[in-house]
Point group: C2
Chain length 328, copies 2
């Protein structure tokens, strides 16, 4: 195996989405059958229905791994992204926002009528976010979008569980992991969402055991993965399934699991919490940035906590200010 | 003259714009010949050039009078808006955001290639905003978009100085003021921007003398209007030219001028100032809301100050939370 030198620290593969964020009362979720805190997939008709009922909104680029990559770039590492937008205004916004923070992004946009994905993000007074995603052009990402050289030149390829929701994307991921492994590079993976874990449990377990080096998840997601309500039981099962697992626990910070042991890393002080959108994504930004710099895992986790703590003090999952200042 | 009963408290006529907001350093303005604090008109090529150099952005509906109208609706009055978007995604966003706060808005979108207007809003570390506007579909608003019945049914028709930048819009405004006056309704007008005043001084002076009942302006704009550096000299000239003039002075609050006298109304306490975009627009929201409720001018001005003080603590000129809570 000849290891290619790394042009990028982290390459992300994920859904390319523009978020449409709006504050609402809890009643809005109840009246529209939206499960609080989760991500639901909706078709275009349902998306339009919900949007027409939502309040005044703010648009901001999103997508889980895309948010993480924008964060890693903003922290100062070399990044690239593969994801599918359409040739429309939302696609131009997503593309601009990736490139503006320095992410290499040149996946060809789709042609035709299908529009760029959007995610309706409803933020309740407790700052929790509930998401309804119309996957749009993301459903057309395919093996052909997986640039083998790009993957071979990236130290880590980071992929999101949400990609398992479309068959095309799964084929793309299989190719990507194969190329990364062959090039001797690492695979990072996020479980994405509790419902997403429910939909793809067997495949996720298989992937974690055989392909993943670094896993990101939150407490609910690993409980869902192992079908238990017992967090300790879940971490016990997870330990040793991959090299590193970083499990976030909101205000409790996170737990880092390795074959050697586990370590809790407390969250630092956080300002006024406005919107939790992107907390997990930005945790991964901080953690992976540290990892690419060769930091101890505890220090990686601490930066992850700081990035997560920062993003929840603003609306949207893309930091309005450069994240470099969080690297102390 | 038969006065039609009022279906709407305020009808706004203005540019229908989506703002693209981004934080930047002062150097960005200097390097790109942008006059700090002003609004510059740019063509599509220049807009794309600047956008490609701007940082990660957030999109939010904008437009000066449109912002004011969204604010008045959020405060609880009955509002309508006339403005031109294209049949594209940004147009759909603008339309959604007006209707979502309860503004009646049904101007037909343009057809063809010209896109919805966008305004690149660059926010510097002092929270000042500098704007580069590509006017797009707004340039196609015309007399045909002026619904006479809508104007005759509105207690106040509010128009912006920015409309004088396109000939079509000027013709539309002439029709609107004629209809409003004939129906015995009031005209409110904002000077919009210092450079805008420089471009259209003679026409603005003529309009204020003969058509305007309520004028909104800031200190710099009335100085530009009367070509003086002396604020007191400017207010002296302005007094009596129209029934009411509300002149904002940033942290000093505002001065309300009437034929009978003038009254300074101090600004209240303001939280952390993030972005001054929309301060003047939201002052007009509070003032006009109070006016439609029959309040004393001092109370109108105090609510204007509160609305302005609120909007500058968030990014963008549309309040993320309902403004009703500011009505004490």
């Amino acid at each position: 195996m000849i290891q290619t030198s790394n042009k990028f620290d982290v390459l992300g593969i994920g859904n390319a989405i523009v978020d449409v964020l709006s504050f609402c009362e809890d009643d809005f979720l109840k009246n529209n059958d939206l499960a609080k805190g989760s991500m639901m997939l909706v078709d275009q008709e349902r998306s339009k229905f919900l949007y027409a009922r939502m309040g005044q909104s703010t648009e901001c680029s999103g997508g889980s791994v895309a948010n993480s990559l924008a964060g890693i770039a903003s922290l100062g590492a070399r990044t690239a992204f593969i994801g599918k937008v359409a040739g429309d205004q939302l696609g131009a916004i997503f593309t601009h926002d990736m490139r503006a923070v320095g992410v290499h992004f040149d996946t060809s946009p789709t042609k035709g009528d299908i529009s760029t994905a959007n995610c309706l993000v409803l933020v309740t007074p407790d700052a929790q976010r509930t998401m309804a995603t119309f996957i749009g052009a993301c459903s057309l990402v395919s093996e052909h979008d997986i640039d083998e050289l790009l993957i071979a030149q990236s130290a880590i390829t980071y992929i999101e569980g949400y990609l398992w929701d479309t068959e095309n994307a799964k084929a793309a991921i299989r190719k990507a992991t194969r190329v990364a492994k062959k090039a001797g590079k690492k695979i990072a993976f996020t479980l994405s969402d509790t419902f997403c874990v429910e939909r793809h449990r067997a495949e996720f377990l298989d992937l974690i055991k055989h392909e993943v080096d670094i896993l990101f998840a939150n407490e609910s997601e690993i409980k869902a993965l192992f079908e238990t309500e017992d967090f300790t039981a879940a971490t016990k099962k997870l330990r040793g399934m991959c090299d590193v697992a970083a499990v976030t626990r909101s205000e409790k910070g996170c737990v880092v699991l390795t074959k050697e042991g586990e370590q809790a890393v407390a969250a630092g002080p956080v300002g006024q919490v406005v919107d939790t959108t992107g907390a997990g994504d930005l945790f991964a930004s901080g953690f992976l940035f540290g990892f690419t710099q060769g930091w101890e895992l505890e220090k990686c986790a601490a930066l992850g906590n700081r990035c997560a703590g920062h993003i929840i003090t603003q609306l949207g999952a893309r930091s309005q200010l450069p994240l470099k200042r969080l690297v102390a």
